[in-house]
């Protein structure tokens, strides 16, 4: 106890003086030496490739024989607005469709599930696990499983429709149903994670405000809408932001379930980038696409920082 009192008596100046060695340690050669390996790995695998991608985007790049590459300046970027089908704009809209579905649908669904599951108990605990489990399953394996679920001849989805006397649907081969089918799979896979985030948010908000609202005569919906959800604003912003970023980068399910088809109905920007880079080997054009996708994602990240800052004020 004597030591504690002595510590309490130490002046702020003394604390600052006392921190100096720690600060020196953080900035000293040892600290730099210890950080260097991590920095080196980050530079080699992230920073340099990013810079190199930008350089490639300025060339008509021949990956087979770099000597045959030609500098074309912004040529690849201007091509983005006049390239053949599927165009950059059309793929951007497809990405937007998927992102809107995942962000609006995913946020609403996970919030609803979290509110339903927020009370404890063994059964609800088991349901929480069941909701989260799809998120930890491998995307590749479960995408293939869902291809079978949507198989028009043998799939579970059409079997359910047949039970109700409805005719089957070419889920993944019809341009009207392919994206909703991929969205259904993606929501199944992703919602578990955002439910856990909302549950975390719900566990720390004040219960007293809700109680007060109920005393004042608010019904369940009014309590949720006017009291609970506003308190979850920072969590909602976080969920919206990470859902947006991950949806813009989504690739695996499109690669395995639809291959960007039918008729380009699921060719998102990420898939278009893969197709141009690794199927058609239009490396320079693909690099330009990657740079634009990077800028769009970075803008959303900046937006996240700004929104979080303003909501925390």
């Amino acid at each position: 106890m004597a030591t504690t009192q002595a510590e309490q008596r130490v002046s702020p100046r003394a604390v600052q003086v006392g921190r100096r060695p720690a600060r020196r340690a953080r900035n000293g050669p040892l600290a730099v030496g210890l950080t260097l390996p991590a920095l080196l790995i980050f530079a080699v695998f992230t920073i340099l490739p990013t810079a190199y991608t930008f350089v490639i985007s300025l060339f008509d790049w021949n990956p087979l024989n770099v000597a045959q590459s030609r500098f074309i300046g912004a040529g690849n970027y201007t091509k983005l607005f006049g390239h053949a089908t599927p165009s950059f704009a059309a793929s951007g809209l497809t990405s937007l469709y998927f992102t809107a579905g995942m962000v609006i649908g995913g946020t609403a669904l996970s919030l609803a599930i979290a509110v339903l599951l927020q009370r404890g108990g063994a059964l609800l605990g088991a349901v929480r696990v069941a909701v989260f489990v799809p998120h930890v399953t491998p995307l590749v394996a479960t995408s293939i499983v869902w291809v079978w679920i949507f198989n028009p001849q043998f799939g579970l989805a059409n079997a359910v429709l047949h039970l109700f006397g409805l005719s089957g649907v070419d889920w993944l081969d019809n341009s009207a149903t392919a994206m909703p089918a991929v969205l259904a799979y993606s929501l199944w896979h992703e919602v578990g994670f955002t439910v856990v985030i909302f549950l975390g948010g719900l566990s720390v908000i004040s219960g007293e405000l809700g109680e007060a609202a109920r005393v004042d005569g608010a019904n369940r919906w009014q309590e949720f809408w006017y009291v609970t959800w506003p308190q979850l604003r920072p969590v909602t912003v976080f969920v919206v932001t990470i859902s947006t970023i991950s949806s813009l980068q989504a690739f695996t399910q499109f690669f395995l379930m639809t291959g960007g088809g039918p008729v380009h109905a699921t060719t998102t920007l990420s898939f278009l980038l893969y197709q141009e880079a690794f199927v058609f080997f239009h490396t320079g054009y693909a690099a330009a696409l990657a740079v634009v996708l990077f800028v769009v994602t970075a803008l959303f990240t900046l937006l996240q920082f700004r929104t979080r800052r303003s909501s925390s004020r």
Binding site: L64, D170, D173, G259, G260, V263, F271, Q275, V279, F281
Partner: protein
């Protein structure tokens, strides 16, 4: 945290081991004094893998000074990516499987060796005519490829299902449509296909190309120009759209024809001869699986020479190139081809293999009529844009078969795209 001398010693040792391992991994050449040939290929499963490994071992027994290392990739898109990545890194394999349009792209980038200096006239003459004509590139008319796994398309059918409807293997495409419609219904579909996508045309797209040729006009001219809007192409697409409307054709993914046939829910599978062992496995003896040549169209029989050739990359040393050619020539020899065809399902590239596999042909007649088709089957012309143009056809099929566009309109869109690609020369 202060480090103990022991921790430091362990860290230094670990770093040393890692560095040594890394250096060993970068090492090139053989320490045994043998010439190493690396072969990047896709024979990754089933009898394809075991047959390839067997032939390689046999070759190494006969050529003690050559070590062949198989670099196996799971599928063709991955193979192309790996070959491209290896070329970009300046460390290509000695030889690799390649479709003719890949070879055209590689040759344009000057990373291939012409094989004219290795293959003699007699070597080339020993091959089937259809196979032979697929080895040269039109850019300089040089021999850049050597045949490896060649196939044509045949029809597989459920004999019990067809005879139940009083039908036998159809001889014309009109008969095929009538039979497919007759067996469809109650969960059974005449034929299931996967057209593929713009990123990767699949077997359904190959069938469309064959149909267009059977109606009178192949979809590519010999100079590679697309002819997707010809009356024959429109007729072929209309034929498939009618089957779909009648419920006799279904679209799917992951070899849907094989799956439906194997499950007893499909009348036919229109697929490569290389599917034979896979289809047999899928059927699993539940019913007798029939095989027959493809039906004919108004313009006669048409088929597509599919499969890849082998190319030699320019980076290899003269000694490696010489060893690689010895291996390539061995793979196309009558003995090796007889073994390969009998165990892999692919067709022999030389008629000289047929007498050596007489027993197999007697039990598996598809090999005989498949090999006969090699005399007339045509490969797609070797131009860099062909695969991309086939992707446009796959998109047109998706559009026309799901009723989004009429066959003519869907093909017109594909023609526009493909013509632009052909013009740009990509």
């Amino acid at each position: 945290m202060p480090q103990s001398p022991l921790t430091r010693a362990v860290a230094v040792l670990a770093a040393g081991v890692l560095a040594a391992g890394g250096l060993a991994g970068c090492g090139a050449g053989s320490s045994t004094g043998k010439t190493t040939v690396t072969f990047m290929e896709t024979m990754s499963s089933g009898t394809l893998k075991s047959s390839m490994e067997y032939l390689t071992k046999q070759f190494e027994k006969q050529h003690k000074d050559i070590d062949v290392q198989l670099v196996v990739e799971p599928d063709y898109p991955t193979l192309r990516n790996k070959e491209t990545a290896a070329l970009a890194a300046g460390k290509p394999p000695t030889i690799g499987q390649a479709y003719s349009d890949w070879a055209a792209t590689y040759a344009k980038s000057q990373v291939l060796v012409p094989l004219d200096g290795y293959a003699g006239k007699a070597d080339v003459a020993a091959l089937y005519p259809g196979v032979r004509s697929d080895l040269y590139l039109p850019s300089d008319h040089k021999l850049y490829m050597w045949p490896f796994n060649k196939s044509v398309v045949i029809q597989y059918y459920n004999q019990k299902m067809l005879s139940g409807k009083g039908k036998s293997a159809p001889k014309t495409w009109d008969e095929f449509a009538a039979t497919a419609k007759a067996v469809s219904g109650h969960g059974t579909v005449g034929v299931s296909i996967d057209p593929g996508t713009s990123a990767g045309p699949a077997g359904g797209e190959a069938w469309f190309e064959i149909l267009a040729a059977a109606y009178g006009t192949p979809v590519f001219a010999s100079d590679g120009k697309p002819r997707f809007t010809s009356p024959a192409a429109v007729q072929a697409m209309t034929y498939l759209a009618d089957l779909k409307k009648a419920g006799a054709l279904s679209l799917g993914k992951n070899y849907p024809g094989q799956v439906a046939l194997g499950a007893g829910k499909g009348g036919f599978d229109i697929s490569s001869v290389a599917s034979y062992f896979y289809n047999q496995q899928a059927v699993g003896g539940k019913f007798p699986m029939g095989t027959a040549p493809l039906p004919s169209g108004p313009a006669g029989a048409a088929n597509q020479l599919a499969g890849t050739n082998i190319v030699m990359f320019a980076k290899a040393s003269d000694q490696e190139k010489k060893a690689a050619w010895t291996f390539m020539k061995y793979l196309s020899s009558p003995d090796a081809q007889a073994y390969w065809a009998s165990h892999s399902g692919y067709l022999p590239v030389t008629p000289a293999a047929l007498p050596k596999m007489a027993d197999f042909i007697a039990k598996n007649p598809y090999q005989k009529f498949g090999a006969d088709a090699l005399k007339t089957a045509k490969a797609d012309p070797p131009y860099p844009w062909v695969t991309k143009a086939q992707g446009e056809l796959a998109v047109a099929m998706q559009s026309a078969l799901t009723g989004k566009q009429t066959p003519a309109a869907a093909l017109a869109d594909a023609q526009k795209q493909a013509a632009a690609e052909a013009k740009s020369g990509e």
